[in-house]
């Protein structure tokens, strides 16, 4: 049983972000980390490996060359090997192009489960897992708060409007998991040392049998403007007042906005 975790390197939540002249995120300028929600996919994968449900865990990322750091960090948490798909033609890739490239890489890696986080911190569309499943022609099990493998089936527990369902599909599948799978582990010093010796391959588009033309310029979308959000009026602070005075202020504030009569 083979599992591949797809992960993305993103700017750290706290990092200063900038846009390049052509309105792409300047990824070189920001401190980069593993997309925090992908760490839950890594954790889920490693738990499945520890329980014996999965034999091999590999990591796959598409991005600029420095994404190798994210893969090395994942290998420090555990798993066996990693693959980076990097190519100048992939700069600014949108959801479709990303899915197309990951699908081609997964066709070569041929895992039983391709596992992803539920969203990326920077784009937040949550479209890549479903698009990869569609391109590969395999079922999608998304938003799992737990992933299990039972025989030839994969199952996820998924929240519904009021409770939860267990949803199943035959392997191979593309799955995505939420931050309810369990807190991601930290890499130990031993893990960091071990990661240096784990195999990592780098593939170009040509290695995947794809050309820049297949990706139609890497993006079907175009950013035409990037600006700061509208400034909000400053916060009114209610401090050093008695609770009764504070409550009077709140009710007046609500009434002025017609939120209470």
């Amino acid at each position: 049983m083979k599992l591949v975790v797809c992960l993305k390197q993103v700017p750290a939540t706290t990092a200063e972000k900038r846009y390049t002249a052509d309105l792409r995120l300047d990824r070189a300028a920001a401190e980069a980390v593993i997309n925090p929600l992908d760490e839950y996919a890594i954790e889920q994968a490693l738990r499945l490996q520890e329980s014996g449900a999965v034999d091999a865990v590999s990591f796959l990322s598409m991005g600029p060359e420095q994404s190798a750091e994210a893969l090395r960090r994942a290998l420090a948490m555990g798993g066996d090997d990693a693959t980076l798909v990097t190519d100048p033609a992939l700069a600014g890739a949108d959801a479709w192009a990303t899915a197309r490239v990951l699908a081609a890489a997964l066709d070569r890696l041929a895992p039983d489960v391709a596992l992803m986080g539920m969203a990326s911190d920077d784009a937040r569309g949550s479209l890549v897992p479903g698009a990869v499943a569609a391109i590969r022609g395999v079922p999608l099990l998304s938003y799992g708060s737990e992933l299990r493998i039972e025989g030839s089936m994969a199952r996820v527990r998924r929240l519904t409007a009021s409770g939860f369902n267990v949803v199943e599909a035959p392997l191979p599948v593309v799955a995505s998991v939420t931050d309810q799978v369990g807190e991601p582990r930290y890499a130990s010093l031993k893990g960091i040392m071990a990661a240096k010796r784990k195999p990592m391959e780098t593939w170009s588009l040509a290695d995947l049998g794809l050309s820049a033309a297949d990706l139609r310029g890497a993006a079907l979308t175009r950013v035409i403007e990037a600006r700061k959000p509208e400034a909000k009026p400053p916060t009114e602070r209610v401090e050093n007042m008695s609770p009764d005075e504070a409550v009077t202020r709140i009710v007046d504030w609500l009434a002025a906005r017609k939120l209470v009569s």
Binding site: L127, A161, I224, E239
Partner: protein
């Protein structure tokens, strides 16, 4: 040239969901800008009754499938319908089901995708979207690249559009063209566990009283529920409160929970971490009650009350009751 605007319309328990009503109104508005018609792609229990979406703004409806099967099982039907209709845009709700179907369309048809967006319009026959990215620190305006295939897939945040009230008329209903369900058709629900108690749909609430780590326990939510009741609102929570098991995960607001846009959001004992903020930052009015004067929520709330929520909230409930005479 494509001018029609399609929307993914989810049904549950025999009725269109809130998102279907919002998107039908939005599609009708965009269709006026493009000179086309709003067409609903209906799925889920009750979708065969999609004619009712006529009153919500849809001129036509195509039924992808009725029944409780996972939304993604309708992907091939949705793809066949989109190919036949050839709309300018497909509006999808930024919910797990809506995103699954939208993602399948992106992969199956190789389409440009946008969102989740907070605004969309048609300008000179082109789709133009506005999105908050990078945790809301940047607003980007995007459009399909030159020569990109149509339609554009657009994910919409809840409450971007307001459902049409008191509308009339009935949508012309057709079945989706024949298609094979493919690999997506093998996804099935094997167990269903409803909640023990009813859970409010936060996306429909116009007032939300949310509790965080500072609420301290499941019992600590009682005064929040009383305040929500007197305000006519619903109770929400931060991830910390849901993780602690004080409330069900359905009430979680934030990056990995619900994205809400109420008229009033009251945050009690919530620090306002970025992951929570992205789920409520478009609320029209934000009131925060926190005993920590340095809580990050104090930087973006409209009114920030530094104090003990267990003293302030019950007094607030009592004062609102007194003014309302109840």
């Amino acid at each position: 040239m494509s001018i029609d605007i399609a929307l993914l319309a989810e049904f549950s328990d025999g009725s269109p969901s809130r998102s279907a009503l919002e998107l039908a109104a939005g599609a009708a508005e965009l269709a006026r800008q493009s000179g086309g018609a709003a067409v609903a792609l209906a799925y889920g229990p009750g979708a065969t009754g999609a004619a009712s979406l006529g009153a919500a703004g849809a001129a036509r409806a195509v039924v992808l499938g009725d029944g409780a099967a996972p939304a993604v099982t309708h992907a091939m039907a949705a793809s066949a319908a989109v190919r036949e209709l050839a709309p300018l845009a497909v509006l999808a709700p930024a919910t797990p089901n809506g995103r699954d179907l939208a993602a399948a369309l992106v992969g199956l048809l190789g389409l440009p995708a946008f969102g989740p967006v907070r605004a969309v319009r048609i300008e000179g026959g082109r789709v133009r979207t506005e999105q908050a990215t990078l945790q809301g620190t940047v607003i980007t305006v995007s459009e399909p690249a030159e020569g990109a295939p149509e339609p554009a897939i657009v994910l919409l945040l809840p409450s971007t559009f307001t459902p049409i009230e008191g509308g009339s008329g009935s949508a012309a209903v057709a079945q989706a063209p024949d298609s094979q369900p493919g690999a997506f058709g093998t996804v099935r629900i094997v167990e269903s566990h409803p909640a023990e108690a009813a859970v409010a749909n936060l996306e429909e609430a116009t007032i939300i009283v949310a509790g965080g780590r500072g609420v301290g326990s499941a019992e600590g939510f009682a005064p929040l529920r009383e305040l929500a009741a007197v305000l006519g609102g619903a109770v929400g929570a931060s991830r910390a409160a849901a993780d602690a098991g004080w409330v069900p995960y359905q009430l979680q607001i934030g990056q990995t929970g619900k994205v809400v846009k109420p008229a009033l959001y009251v945050g009690c004992g919530i620090s306002g971490a970025i992951q929570h903020r992205v789920g409520m930052q478009t609320a029209e009015n934000v009131l925060a009650i926190n005993k920590d004067p340095d809580a990050p929520i104090g930087e973006f709330a409209d009114l920030f009350v530094v104090g003990d929520l267990f003293i302030i909230v019950p007094k607030l409930t009592a004062e609102i009751r007194r003014r309302k005479g109840i």
